[in-house]
């Protein structure tokens, strides 16, 4: 495959993979409540995730290690288990939110309650993992995720004020509801800097047999793909700010988000919103399930690989099966998908340093990256943004919980 084609495909999959239930819900919530005031959070999160995704690809290309197996090797079982526990707790909640998102998309179109859809969507996720190949998951579902471009078209049709949008890049304090503002900000950061994204990416690089030649492709994919994803996320915020906020709609249920595209795109907008939610959540659910199974298998030395037959990687396959079953159960039991999404994204922010700091140590270790280790700018950006997200989450989560 030519380098250009690899870059194009990588960028498409990055765009498709960037938007998922967390990004859609948090951006819409931010736009409806604070107009463009939280654009800075999306941009800050994107800067961090560009660095992290690029690092994870570089680590795989240079050392032929995934993040998790390098962590296990470099820090030993204790640190590895700490990161694994943190991953599993957060990933089950986020996976439940993704299954909830898919179920809600189907509810919007059919009128059948989302709890009834949890089992079929969970089963579909599992079946695609069981029967599908890595290529199908990486490219097929992510390419379908391009339906999310509908938000870009809608934002363009709504003619947002350019000055207001640019002003959103600067951190400003809200006139009211400061706790909700900061909670939404950390939820956005958690949605954008999803650790599963770079675990999945580094494992994918190993599955695709990346070498030193792919470092340039990796850099281009991480930077351009994630930046386009960021633009899509901002488009969701702009649409919510111009459709929901003027009407005084502050969504506390997912159903209210069904109105987002009906204004600018009419009836097609309604179905495009449902399709975007369904496809992006399916893509994220597949990546999340795989990322968790990868973490277990790579750290504990099991056979792994999405392209390997489940019979030959039984414990790996069993791990994602259990993950999907647990997450599906949470939705069947009736957890509110929107609240679950916002909470799990904030929790992701809280646990970021546990994930990113050991990873940074690896990226500065010459045994793994040789001469192509991290530059200080990448280290500083990831440390500052992860710490900031975690500290805000530490204060905002309890306050938001007490304030309902």
């Amino acid at each position: 495959m030519s380098k250009l084609l690899k870059i194009a495909l990588g960028i498409f999959t990055s765009i498709g993979g960037f938007l998922e239930v967390g990004a859609i819900a948090t951006a819409a919530e931010a736009g409806a409540s604070f107009r463009f005031q939280l654009i800075w959070a999306v941009v800050l999160g994107t800067i961090c995730v560009i660095f992290l995704v690029e690092m994870s690809g570089r680590l795989a290309a240079l050392s032929h290690h995934t993040i998790k197996d390098a962590m296990r090797e470099r820090f030993g079982p204790r640190v590895f288990m700490l990161t694994l526990i943190s991953d599993v707790l957060v990933n089950v909640l986020v996976l439940a939110a993704e299954i909830g998102g898919m179920s809600l998309a189907l509810q919007l179109v059919t009128g059948i309650g989302f709890r009834w859809w949890a089992l079929p969507t969970g089963l579909l996720t599992w079946l695609l993992l069981w029967k599908g190949s890595f290529g199908l998951i990486e490219n097929g579902v992510s390419l379908l995720g391009m339906v999310a471009l509908a938000f870009l078209v809608a934002a363009w049709k709504l003619h947002p004020d350019g000055h207001d949008v640019v002003a959103g890049l600067a951190l400003t304090l809200p006139a009211e509801r400061p706790v909700h503002y900061w909670f939404t900000a950390v939820s956005i950061l958690g949605a954008v800097i999803s650790p599963y994204l770079f675990y999945f990416y580094s494992s994918g690089a190993i599955e695709d047999h990346w070498g030193v030649d792919e470092i340039g492709v990796n850099r281009a994919v991480a930077t351009v793909g994630m930046s386009f994803g960021c633009v899509l996320c901002i488009a969701v915020m702009i649409v919510a700010a111009l459709v929901l906020q003027p009407a005084g709609i502050q969504p506390d249920r997912f159903e209210q988000l069904g109105l987002l595209l009906t204004g600018p795109l009419g009836r097609w907008g309604f179905y495009l919103f449902a399709a975007t939610l369904l496809v992006s959540c399916l893509g994220a659910a597949l990546e999340l399930s795989l990322a968790t199974a990868y973490s277990f298998a790579q750290g504990l030395g099991w056979n792994w690989g999405e392209s390997v037959h489940p019979r030959d990687a039984a414990r790996f396959s069993l791990t994602y099966t259990i993950m999907i079953a647990a997450a599906t159960l949470l939705i069947v039991l009736g957890l509110d998908p929107l609240k679950l999404t916002l909470f799990s994204m904030a929790l992701t922010s809280l646990t970021l340093p546990v994930v990113t700091f050991p990873f940074l140590v690896l990226m500065n270790d010459r045994d793994y990256c040789g001469e192509l280790g991290n530059h200080w700018i990448g280290n500083a950006a990831v440390i500052v943004i992860s710490l900031l997200a975690s500290l805000i989450a530490l204060v905002a989560i309890p306050l938001q919980l007490m304030g309902g």
Binding site: L108, G248, Q250, E255
Partner: protein, 106 residues
């Protein structure tokens, strides 16, 4: 001992930061206004064919449920009567457009 004191201080600080009665009243008011706007916008979308009727029914059900939850709180009684009535009217209008039974009677 120091840990317990620090934990107690942190907890009391957090509890002291809980929502005031005014905050709760404001939140309840915002919720009612938000649902009224949601139902009105959905009615308009269904009327011009931008949203399917099946979506309208979901919004009626969600708005009725949210109204029921709000009505169970002390803040509900303190909301301006016209705002409560506006929500009820909006729900009734959408329900009648969709040929659903009056949600106020069910």
């Amino acid at each position: 001992m120091t840990r317990i004191i620090l934990l107690a201080a942190a907890l009391s600080l957090l509890l002291g930061c809980g929502p005031s009665p005014q905050d709760k009243a404001q939140l309840a008011r915002r919720t009612v206004q938000s649902w009224t706007a949601t139902v009105e916008k959905t009615t308009e979308a269904v009327q011009r064919g931008a949203a399917p009727r099946v979506y309208g029914r979901q919004i009626v059900a969600a708005a009725v449920e949210s109204r029921k939850n709000e009505a169970g709180t002390p803040e509900w009684g303190r909301l301006p009567a016209q705002e409560r009535a506006a929500l009820d009217r909006a729900i009734q209008r959408l329900a009648s457009l969709l040929g659903m039974p009056d949600p106020g009677r069910s």
